[in-house]
Amino acid sequence: MPALPLDEAGKYVAAAYIVFVGLILVYVAIMAAKLQRIDRELGELAKIAERTRSRDG
């Protein structure tokens, strides 16, 4: 039996769970930004590797 009264108490409980989900999403966003940076750097390094390889031929 679902217990979902939307009175005063419900709002606070909802707030607590929303904070939790929010923190997880913030973490995911930060991780995504880190991944993007790693990806970009990999791209740069790949270019450098290509250049070195073509130079040494």
Binding site: A3, Y12, V13, A15, L45, I48
Partner: protein, 247 residues
Amino acid sequence: MKVPSLRVQSAATVAIIVTAFALVFFYAPLDADQGFIQKIFYLHVPLAICALGGFVVAAVHAIRYLRSRDPVHDARAYVAIHLSVIFGVAVLITGSIWARASWGKWWVWDEPTLVSFLIVFLLYATYYPLRYAIEDRDRQARYASVFAIMAGAFVPLNFAAVRLAEPLVHPRVFATANGGLPGDMRLTFLICLAGMALLWLTLVRFELAAKSASARLARLRRALEGESAPAQRSRIAPAVPPRTVSS
């Protein structure tokens, strides 16, 4: 024991947490005195237990670092503390919301467990400025390990002292959340605890994998560009040495 891949572990984390939340809202009965507000405990207490557990794990890694001087242990200690501090923020916010819902104030000083947790949180928050203030990486790792061990020893002492300071007439609400729980509440609580613990472990693996990738990139860059490339991006987050992290 073969460690499951990160993908499998993440999927398991999601599954358990979703199940846990479903149990909280659709299975666990309403508490007799607290009513619907009690549902916050299924979030707040497991988070707190995992944060404190994380600090202990960090102390263990710190001891291993001091013994072996292998920087991977320092990295693990750093990540463990980092994530436990983040969990700590969640504990304090949910604890504050609960205090507001129960007693109308955003903070109460007579809940000893919450106050103890605040003190522990404040202590571990100093981990970052401490690391930042020490430039030599080897010394930084060593002193950070000493700190992690000191702070780990401090945690039980702190909880004991603060609890003693509270007059016993005051009802200890958190006591009801752990011992003496009726069966269906206990099951819900345990699943929530398992979910949070798995979440902590999964996030630790994410962090370590990200660090490992950054470190490898830095090494690669140095190999390709020569010694002119910057050696390390971050001053305080320890680099993970070359080692395949199972993904």
